[in-house]
């Protein structure tokens, strides 16, 4: 392997490989071509995180493409983690976009199935799912390590991506979740970002199983954290977001904080979580998804004690 034993040479890979506790952020592209709006959002994250996930038509709502937004981010000196879902593209478009974003400086990507379009703002659309997320992971690995397209033809200048995947420890059937994680790692995932964690006991069980199965030795697991802005947001997520596990006790805690103080209580809970993850065996970092709350990331990072971010050459 060239590049000092690095698979992609991305900042995120270097930080993780050097044994630092990684801290990644997230930025949803705008619902339009408003580049200034995009820049304003990701500028909050500059220097505060190791890489920024750029979502791909998240919740099946059409936005500026994750490819374009990732490229803009890279050109502005912030490292993107390009998200790609299987819902909207077939294998030709996926491979083409992987080559495209790589050529524009993208070095990390997160391979996802994608929310069903039924949730989104174009439920009439045809879905693709030519390949699934595990096959996408394997495809990116093949492109990177073998320098070949899915059909075994050679790639002229293979894309060297640091390959990410998602894991939802809270979806059902619970017993199978760690095996699905194992499948993703077997397929080639270098790092994992989990769904937002609120049920800490369940996550502790999950990561313990992952450690026992040796999975945390094979891939870096970043625990997903989304600070709650209010008790109402918590209730909404508990009820409306598929595969989300929000304990009643957390909702009560937010309610108990009183009017005007719920957001601060949500941030406090997130910081408590990050503190615990720093010490938790098998957890290599945190993925902070501050949804439409990018401007709060510097404060959360500061208070969670993850600043300054390490510089690894």
């Amino acid at each position: 392997m060239s590049n000092n034993g690095l698979k992609s040479g991305s900042n995120l890979e270097k930080v993780l490989k050097a044994g630092h506790f990684a801290f990644t952020g997230e930025c949803g592209p705008p619902k339009g071509a408003n580049v200034e709006h995009l820049k304003e959002k990701f500028e909050h994250l500059r220097g505060k995180v190791d890489a920024v996930n750029v979502t791909d038509n998240q919740t099946a709502v059409v936005r500026m493409s994750s490819a374009a937004a990732s490229a803009i981010m890279a050109a502005n000196g912030i490292e993107p983690n390009f998200q790609m879902v299987c819902r909207d593209r077939n294998r030709l478009a996926m491979m083409a976009d992987i080559l495209g974003v790589y050529s524009l400086g993208v070095r990390n990507m997160l391979c996802l199935s994608g929310d069903h379009q039924k949730f989104g703002n174009h439920p009439q659309s045809k879905n693709v799912f030519d390949i699934d997320s595990i096959q996408l992971i394997a495809m990116v690995k093949k492109m990177r390590d073998e320098g070949k397209f899915l059909n075994d033809e050679d790639i002229d200048e293979p894309p060297k991506m640091f390959i990410g995947a998602a894991a939802n420890p809270f979806a059902d059937p619970y017993e199978f979740r760690v095996y699905r994680l194992a499948n993703k790692i077997d397929a080639g995932a270098d790092f994992i970002q989990t769904q937002c964690i609120y049920n800490m006991p369940r996550f502790r069980d999950f990561i313990k199983m992952a450690v026992e199965m040796g999975l945390t030795e094979k891939a870096y697991i970043l625990a997903g954290v989304t600070p709650m802005k209010s008790a109402r947001m918590a209730q909404y997520m508990a009820k409306m977001v598929p595969g989300m596990d929000v304990p009643e006790a957390l909702i009560e805690r937010l309610k108990g904080a009183g009017k005007g103080k719920q957001a601060e209580e949500g941030i406090k809970f997130a910081i408590e979580q990050i503190d615990e993850f720093k010490e938790m065996e098998g957890v290599a970092g945190v993925h902070l998804m501050a949804i439409e709350w990018e401007h709060k990331v510097p404060e959360i990072a500061e208070r969670a004690g993850v600043l300054p971010r390490p510089q690894v050459d």
Binding site: H116, D132, A171, E175, F176, D186, P242, G243
Partner: protein, 222 residues
């Protein structure tokens, strides 16, 4: 079998609004079994259409005929003597029927009275569910006889996705997560390791993605 639902009365009335005399053709195949386009349903629809048109002050004459199968040229011939006595023909067969009729009688106009939906069966009286996507390469043996291509909303070969909760699919609480069922069956039978296999991307050439399909049985071709 092929499952269909009858189109709404409004849609059918709109399709045939310019015609005074039509032939309503049922089929004794799948649509009879799923109670949508057999002899009985032909009779009911004919009555409803006639009443509706009479109310509009624009009466319509409707003759009824139910063929053994509309997807077989031999039976399609059964209307050879009468097809041109009508302004139009309304078919209650699946989408195959009106096309076979159109091909056999190019001078006549054919309209579908049903929406053809899926390959499935009755899970209880009056409720039909999809079971097969007709992808052309059956893989259900990998999943203990359950098909994720047809029954997972995302056709995942490696499921369940992160949206599976309480055995239900993320798209709706009344949709079973087939992957939940597959996993539980494997666990009950102590064969969860089967699901640790990473499968190659599916070759969709045998599905509709490869273009319109044809099946040739050499020994039967004259």
């Amino acid at each position: 079998m092929i499952i269909a639902d009858r189109k709404s009365l409004e849609e059918i009335l709109d399709m045939i609004k310019d015609f005074k005399k039509i032939l309503l053709v049922g089929c004794k195949g799948c649509v009879t079994v799923c109670n949508v386009g057999g002899e009985k349903e032909v009779g009911v629809l004919a009555v409803i259409l006639k009443i509706a048109r009479k109310k509009e002050g624009n009466p319509i004459e409707i003759d009824e005929k139910t063929l053994e199968r509309q997807c077989d040229p031999e039976y399609v011939e059964q209307i050879r003597d009468i097809f041109d006595q009508y302004d139009a023909v309304l078919s209650m067969a699946c989408g195959v029927g009106p096309q076979f009729l159109s091909e056999a009688y190019p001078s006549q106009r054919f309209f579908p009275a049903v929406d053809t939906k899926f390959f499935g069966g009755a899970v209880q009286h009056g409720i039909w569910e999809e079971r097969c996507a007709g992808c052309g390469t059956c893989v259900i043996h990998h999943y203990d006889g359950l098909c994720p291509i047809a029954r997972c909303s995302k056709s995942l070969q490696h499921g369940p996705c992160g949206g599976s909760a309480d055995g239900k699919c993320e798209i709706a609480k009344d949709v079973e997560c087939i992957w939940d069922t597959i996993v539980k069956k494997k666990m009950e039978q102590g064969r969860l390791e089967d699901l640790r296999t990473i499968r190659a991307p599916k070759d969709w050439q045998t599905a509709r993605d490869g273009g319109p399909r044809k099946s040739i049985r050499e020994e039967l071709v004259q």
